[in-house]
């Protein structure tokens, strides 16, 4: 029989005829079938591992078979995906069945909450899934942080044994650095990316949804390390300690590799979408800065993350099949791991930081009601940071015995990267000049972002200087630096994005008063927690230790108490979030911020197909204050007309 082409495609509008009655929710693939698949897959993989290499103990000292565990994880992930229905379309096509209708693509197939628990291809649904996922991962990582600070209250009285403390430290770090790399790109990038460029969908909706569904798998696998006693290497996984570690380390490598695959897929999808799916009139010079940041970050993901996946894979083979990639005595090199990891690791921190820049640039423009100052400079800054981030990774390795004449070179490149980072500040500061500043909650978070990132960035300059780095490397100074840039930068930007965009995504307002309390407590306690860490590091306290000099106890206690209060402020946020969405439920309609960007011109929440017709973009979203400015887009262009009925006026564009 000839393979049928799909009859629905012949019709220009509307859906095809309903083929069959809808099956009940528990018979259609979703997260519940995914769980069943995961459990079955784990036992299958574990059995297979024992069958293949049952007496294959990596050394007589390990009591568990790493091969079984790794294969168990692998088959569990495959079972999870299969249960979710990820492979259904693929196998359907191979069997000659037609692809499902557009309805699944635009999340219209079920009006309720079920679509959030399925492999739904609508990018808006994926965005909401990411939002809840990221909040869950953030809170879990935060709980581990509270445990760390509890242990550090005293240098001599220990709440946890040394194994448990290292396990908690590793879980906190890995949860944050691994899972939160998509904290802005996931919820806001996937949700608003197509909306901001005027597209009805993303280029590869299946890859995008797959990218999301890999994250709960990675989360669970990472947490399962706790059941195996954790991993003692911290989030960096340095060899050869990682080869020595017991079975919890397999979970670390596997979860990190899995999350890496998720990041690669998401980045790949976003690049193609932004290049190809821009609406007519959306020139590169009109692209919102948030989209520029997504574009740059997607390149970083696609180019840098495969190196991590390779490093994790080699780490796993070193642990299971006794390869010796990273063993100095057997011809490998521990430096190889350090280089592979940090070649990924440095672009990774820019994957974390750049989306924050993007969100903040959007927010300040709206709440200063001014065009973004120096649009080209901002875009150049994003791209500059992205490109330069590949050339600086050795600054993590200054003291590790690398070739000494590499050091001035990498000191130079690391110092140079602060120039494009400074462009973001130039753009922000210029936007504030003679503006009309409104202190909405997103704007407050944006101001906090600038302050925090300033401190974080300047401390980065301290670290890039090799002589100063001799004292600061591996100490709490580094800890303070990256918490200021990542938590003070990225997470504050994430909060700005939530208060800015959540009304658009869900159609409900967030409580203003609770939001302000949340902001002030978070900002104050964040600074009281992390500012003293600079001093602690300079006074000689290394990272990841549970015993420290007695004279540092008072400062550590201050930091710990502040950290608990910071946790409390995040709790306030959580209460605001849950209460506003579940109980208070004040509807939001229209454009409360009177923003010009394209997503705010749609209904709140946006219609399932985003745009009824592909819009034609008429002007830049940053044309605030321009007399007789064109609207940003014509949402109802006459059919078949690429241009529009409006004549462009003499509005000046940057």
């Amino acid at each position: 029989m000839a393979i049928e082409t799909q009859p629905e495609r012949a019709e220009p509008t509307g859906r095809g005829p309903e083929v069959e009655a809808k099956r009940p929710w528990w018979l259609r693939p979703g997260a519940h079938t995914g769980l069943i698949g995961a459990v079955i897959g784990y036992f299958l993989g574990h059995w297979l591992g024992n069958f293949l290499g049952g007496d294959y103990a990596r050394s007589s000292l390990s009591d568990a078979n790493d091969v079984a565990i790794v294969l168990g994880y692998l088959f569990a992930v495959l079972g999870w995906l299969a249960g979710l229905g990820v492979f259904n379309d693929l196998f359907g096509l191979m069997l000659g069945r037609p692809l499902p209708e557009e309805a699944r693509l635009i999340g219209k197939e079920e009006p309720g909450l079920g679509k959030y628990f399925r492999y739904t291809l609508d990018h808006k649904v994926v965005g909401i899934q990411y939002l809840y996922g990221m909040i869950a991962y953030f809170l879990t990582g935060g709980l581990f942080a509270m445990a760390i600070r509890s242990e550090l209250l005293s240098p001599s009285y220990h709440l946890m044994g040394p194994e448990q403390y290292l396990m908690v430290v590793g879980e906190h770090g890995t949860m944050m650095m691994m899972m939160m790399s998509s904290v802005i790109l996931g919820p806001f990038g996937q949700y608003f990316g197509p909306l901001l460029i005027g597209s009805k969908k993303v280029a590869f909706p299946r890859l995008e949804a797959l990218g999301f569904w890999l994250t709960p798998a990675a989360y669970v696998i990472l947490l399962s390390a706790v059941l195996f006693g954790g991993f003692p290497t911290g989030w960096t996984g340095y060899e050869p300690l990682a080869t020595q570690a017991q079975t919890g380390e397999d979970a670390y490598f596997f979860a990190f590799g899995l999350m890496g695959i998720s990041m690669i897929l998401a980045g790949f999808n976003m690049i193609v979408t932004i290049i190809n799916y821009r609406a007519p009139g959306m020139r590169w010079s009109r692209l919102p800065m948030f989209v520029w940041s997504m574009f740059t970050v997607s390149f970083l993901q696609v180019l840098a993350v495969p190196v991590l996946v390779g490093a994790c894979y080699m780490g796993l083979t070193d642990r299971t099949f006794q390869t010796s990639f990273f063993s100095n005595q057997l011809g490998g090199s521990s430096f190889l791991y350090e280089d592979l990891f940090w070649f990924f690791g440095h672009p990774e921190v820019y994957i974390l930081a750049l989306p924050g820049f993007g969100v903040i640039s959007e927010v300040v423009s709206v709440f200063c009601r001014k065009p973004l100052f120096g649009y080209k400079v901002a875009a150049a800054g994003m791209l500059g940071v992205g490109i330069l981030s590949f050339f600086v990774w050795q600054h993590h390795l200054f003291d590790s015995g690398i070739n000494p004449d590499m050091r001035p070179l990498f000191m130079l490149t690391t110092e140079l990267i602060s120039i494009p980072t400074g462009f973001i500040f130039l753009v922000g500061m210029g936007t504030f000049w003679k503006a009309k500043i409104r202190f909405s909650i997103p704007m407050l978070f944006a101001l906090a972002f600038y302050f925090n990132f300033l401190i974080g960035g300047i401390s980065g300059v301290f670290l890039s200087d090799v002589p100063a780095d001799t004292t600061e490397h591996g100490s709490f100074f580094v800890m303070a630096h990256f918490h200021y840039t990542i938590m003070g930068g990225l997470i504050f930007a994430f909060m700005a994005g939530i208060y800015y965009w959540l009304p658009k995504m869900t159609g409900y307002k967030l409580n203003e008063k609770l939001g302000r309390i949340h902001f002030w407590t978070m900002f104050i306690f964040f600074n009281t927690t992390f500012l003293p860490l600079f001093a602690l590091g300079m006074m000689g306290m290394p990272r990841r230790v549970f015993e420290y000099a007695r004279n540092l106890e008072t400062l550590n206690d201050w930091v710990s108490i502040s950290a608990f209060c910071l946790g409390g402020s995040i709790l306030i946020f959580l209460i605001n979030f849950v209460w506003s969405l579940l109980f208070w439920r004040e509807r939001e309609t229209g454009n409360p911020w009177r923003a010009r960007s394209l997503e705010w011109q749609l209904s709140t929440p946006p219609p399932p197909e985003n745009f009824k017709r592909v819009p034609v973009i008429l002007s830049s979203p940053y044309d605030y204050g321009v007399k007789n400015a064109l609207p940003v887009a014509d949402l109802n262009p006459p059919p078949g007309v690429i241009g529009s009925a409006y004549e462009p006026t003499g509005a000046v564009e940057a």
């Binding site: 007589s60 390990s62 017991q246 109980f583």
Partner: protein, 242 residues
Amino acid sequence: MSVAARAAALGAAFLVVVGVGIFVAVYYVGAATTQLPIVHYSASGGQVSVVLQEDPQNNTATTPDWVSYYTQDPVSKQWLHTTLFSVPENTKVNVTIYGYDGCTPLRNNYFSQVQGTMGGTVTVSQFDQHGKEYVTNDTTSVINSWSDCNVGHTFAIPAMGIFVPVASPNAQLSANNLCSSSPCTPSGNPYAVETFSFMSPSHTGTWRWQCLVPCGGGYIDGNSGPMQTLGWMMGEMDVVAS
């Protein structure tokens, strides 16, 4: 859903999350240190006697080939599978270690040298499996693990500067007759007895102690497994107020 239904769902989800969190915290994070017994030694006549042994095998089903230290309870004389013990402060601590495990060359042979004990020496006696004493009360400051195969493990409290090599049965006995079920007893097994003394610190606190010989698996994996697990080849000495 109505408000009540939503509130109920939220409450249920909250309880589940809290429950899982408490379970994880109590059961896994708190596991190792809270489940191991601490052996308390109390002073008599201004001294305490701490008695330990190290065994080549053990009876744990999952890790039968992990070597391990055992600590003897001073009252019941039973061997407990723990490495946590407490001594009073500012007291003379007399340590006796029965070494049942076979000999291993030290990775860093510097630790053949006795450090930190009273007199800088240890006193060693060695017995074969028939109970014949072939080394009697040899007081020495070095047990060279490379020249004769005579050292099984070490006992070190690094923060106090105490590093003691623990004697083992000789090479021929190590290859053939070692104890095969733990806790080992002197009858039918070759062993070495080593005694030394040190003064416990004058303030309270917890001091870690460890063995410094990576186990048979080489220097990478050799420091894994029992070397990194409390209750096996490393432990803690609590110094309590007397």
